[in-house]
């Protein structure tokens, strides 16, 4: 036997769609169809209305591994998790799951609205095949984690959607499954709870349990998943290192250029407008993912009706934000060395060169802000996204740098023992300026 926690082999799933899009038919139709077909052979039209939501999907997940699953809407992510949690049968292929599996699929587990929070916890435990007496201590953990103590004896139909989610997540994560499947939980819930969930998922993995999670939030994926599956039209387009997977996914699906003109969520008087944005690496290739510490070139295209624009007349800010929109750092024409004077065309590019991108691995949003003679001309929030992937920033090949170390990287050196004192500046240097000359 293999030691894999999850083994998926050639899994495919076909759905019937057909004219009866609602999925179910009526018995009356069936009878009339049957009556009709007695007279002429029907072409069995329903068979043609099928789609393959999953096609020949194969991968393996080791025990204790966290696997991310990404892909566009309709790529088959949810279907994959549904097949793995045995909610729906595959059409061909098979999967093997080692141990007990619990899942949180889209919003909410199998809660019953009329039952109280407490009863729903027991219901879900029973569904997992747990006896009432086995729950014991876990019950308190669930209640504590979900922070719904006050409402534990209230029917869940009176819960807010956030509370519902909290309880659902707590139940799925605390019933000590061997394999945990999570589908886009982070879509609902406030920022604090999202962080808490991510933390918990990491913790679950550290206990040697296996986690598969679907998300559109690349930060969450890159923070947690060691490997990632990219699904595309039901097929595995990529499987491997998370940062490569995200890089590939972002590259395929985000046209970071020329779409700024289409953006409508912008503010400003429009005297000068932002037109395009792109990043380039040292070899001049357009990239969407950059290694920590690598050189990078940001190119911003603009357009204006003004003639004879002076470079000093405008200010461009490029602000990096984290997933919550908090500012991390800003590159601005105000900070850097002055741009040479001279006329610039009314349709052009500004390029910002960064020698070494000192940001930890994470997906950053880039806000662009352009002002002309003190007035805001154009502001496009989250004009682009940039994936920073972990790389050997400090040149020591040690610990990979991820967001838990913080976003900013500061070049530094450490000294130990006798060298620790030697490396500091001599005391005299510190004291001398404080003394008035000639005292």
């Amino acid at each position: 036997m293999t030691e894999q926690a999850v083994r998926v082999v050639g899994l495919s799933k076909q759905f019937r769609i057909g004219e009866k899009q609602a999925g179910y038919q009526t018995f009356r139709d069936k009878l009339t169809d049957a009556a009709k077909s007695m007279f002429r052979r029907s072409k069995s039209g329903r068979k043609s209305g099928t789609i393959w939501a999953l096609q020949d999907v194969s991968f393996e997940v080791g025990q204790g591994e966290v696997i991310g699953i990404i892909g566009r809407n309709g790529a088959g992510k949810s279907t994959l998790l549904k097949v793995l949690s045995r909610i729906t049968e595959p059409t061909t292929g098979y999967a093997e799951i080692r141990g007990r599996l619990s899942s949180l699929l889209e919003v909410g587990t199998g809660f019953h609205a009329e039952l109280t929070g407490r009863e729903n916890i027991y219901l879900n435990a029973a569904i997992l095949g747990m006896r009432r007496k086995d729950i014991g201590r876990r019950f308190d953990d669930i209640v504590a984690f979900s922070e719904v103590e006050k409402f534990i004896d209230t029917p869940v139909k009176h819960y807010s959607s956030g509370m519902y989610l909290r309880l659902a997540f707590a139940v799925a994560a605390h019933l000590e499954p061997d394999v945990l499947l999570i589908d886009e939980v982070l879509a609902v819930g406030d920022a604090a709870f999202q962080r808490k969930c991510l933390g918990k998922m990491g913790e679950v993995a550290q206990q040697g349990r296996t986690v598969l999670f679907v998300s559109h939030d690349m930060t969450a994926i890159s923070r947690l998943a060691s490997r990632t599956v990219v699904l595309e039209g039901g097929r595995v387009a990529y499987l491997g290192d998370t940062s490569d997977a995200i890089g590939m996914y972002v590259k395929e699906h985000q046209s970071s250029e020329e779409d700024l003109e289409l953006r409508t969520d912008r503010r400003g008087d429009g005297v000068i407008r932002l037109k395009s944005f792109a990043c380039f690496d040292a070899q001049g290739r357009k990239v969407t993912s950059v290694g920590t510490g690598d050189p990078v070139y940001f190119s911003v295209g603009y357009t204006t009706k003004l003639k004879g624009l002076e470079p000093l007349d405008f200010v461009l800010d490029m602000r990096f934000t984290d997933v919550m929109g908090h500012p991390i750092s800003t590159l601005s024409t105000r900070f850097s060395s002055p741009v040479p004077r001279g006329k610039v065309e009314s349709d052009g590019l500004m390029v910002c060169k960064v020698e070494s991108l000192s940001l930890a691995a994470e997906v950053y949003g880039i806000d662009l802000w352009l002002a002309y003679r003190g007035g805001m001309s154009d502001f496009v929030p989250r004009a682009a996204e940039m994936q920073v992937v972990t790389a050997d920033y400090f040149g020591t090949g040690a610990e990979p740098l991820i967001r838990k170390h913080g976003a900013a990287l500061i070049p530094h050196e450490w000294f130990v023992g006798s060298r620790a004192m030697e490396c500091m500046p001599p005391p005299a240097n510190i004291e001398s300026p404080a003394l008035p000359p000639g005292a």
Partner: protein
């Protein structure tokens, strides 16, 4: 925990194989047994919801059969002068109504049970058979209430039970088997064909007239009476009368026929259900 220990733990874990089921699948009764706690829980849930949501709650379980008996006694007993095997007509018809109420409850609840539990079905795995079973089991509370009323009536009409009474559990079981059989078929059909549920009230009504509740099956001559047993509820109702009221109607053949049909219906229903089960989550 060292890594060797962890890998030993992994080895201990059971491997679930997920694959398409082919043809007529096995019923996996062992799995159903493993999930007995869930069955208990779902039953309890259905009971709780039933008594919480209806304003009258438990009184409903008393009023409904009692009113039916009053109507039956007036129209069939008094005016229609329908024979009742020498038993006072009210108690004669009520004894038939006791298992019938359970059957109808099971029919109505289980046919819609899968669609009603779709948020569970779409989100978690468990043996789906537990759902129609649980919705029938929830009706046992109503059944027990009705049975208690019957006992009071027996005291009132001074009907002394005979030794036939030891057979009562068997007839109770027969009621369950019959109800499950119909419930499995209807619940699975209702997922696929949503208009099945509209047919249920009609089916219930028709079935009621085809069952010897308001009249005795002894009105029919043999062999027609035994043939009548092909309606499994006929055997159930006659069985209840025989065991509780000690009616001397020799219901043996009719009960035998009914038992056979009930078992066939339940087993075929369970297989049909299992066969349809794989698509439930896709279509509900």
């Amino acid at each position: 925990m060292n890594s060797a220990q962890i890998s030993a733990d992994i080895q201990d874990l059971r491997v679930q194989r997920i694959e398409p089921s082919k043809g007529w699948v096995s019923l996996r009764l062992g799995e159903l047994w493993e999930y007995r706690e869930l069955l208990y829980f779902l039953t309890w849930r259905d009971i709780k919801i039933r008594y919480k949501q209806t304003v009258l709650g438990a009184t409903w379980a008393i009023i409904q059969p009692l009113l039916t008996v009053v109507v039956f006694s007036i129209f069939f007993g008094r005016l229609g002068k329908i024979p009742s095997d020498g038993i006072p007509y009210p108690i004669f018809s009520f004894t038939g109504l006791v298992p019938w109420t359970l059957f109808v409850y099971g029919l109505a609840q289980s046919s819609n049970s899968l669609v009603g539990s779709q948020n569970l079905i779409k989100k978690v795995y468990f043996p789906r058979l537990t759902i129609p079973i649980a919705s029938l089991f929830a009706g046992i509370v109503d059944f027990l209430i009705a049975l208690a009323i019957l006992v009071i009536m027996m005291v009132y009409y001074a009907v002394t039970p005979s030794m036939n009474m030891v057979w009562l559990p068997f007839f109770f079981l027969l009621t369950l088997v019959t109800s499950l059989g119909v419930g499995f078929w209807l619940s699975a059909l209702n997922v696929e064909y949503r208009d099945v549920r509209f047919a249920v009230p009609f089916l219930t009504q028709f079935w009621m007239y085809a069952t010897p509740i308001a009249y005795p099956s002894s009105m029919l001559p043999e062999p027609w009476r035994t043939l009548y047993g092909l309606n499994p509820m006929a055997g159930v109702v006659e069985g209840f009368r025989w065991s509780l009221l000690g009616s001397h109607t020799q219901p043996g053949p009719i009960i035998l026929a009914s038992s056979g049909v009930a078992v066939i219906m339940m087993v075929s229903g369970a297989y049909y259900f299992k066969r349809m089960e794989r698509n439930f989550a896709d279509v509900v």
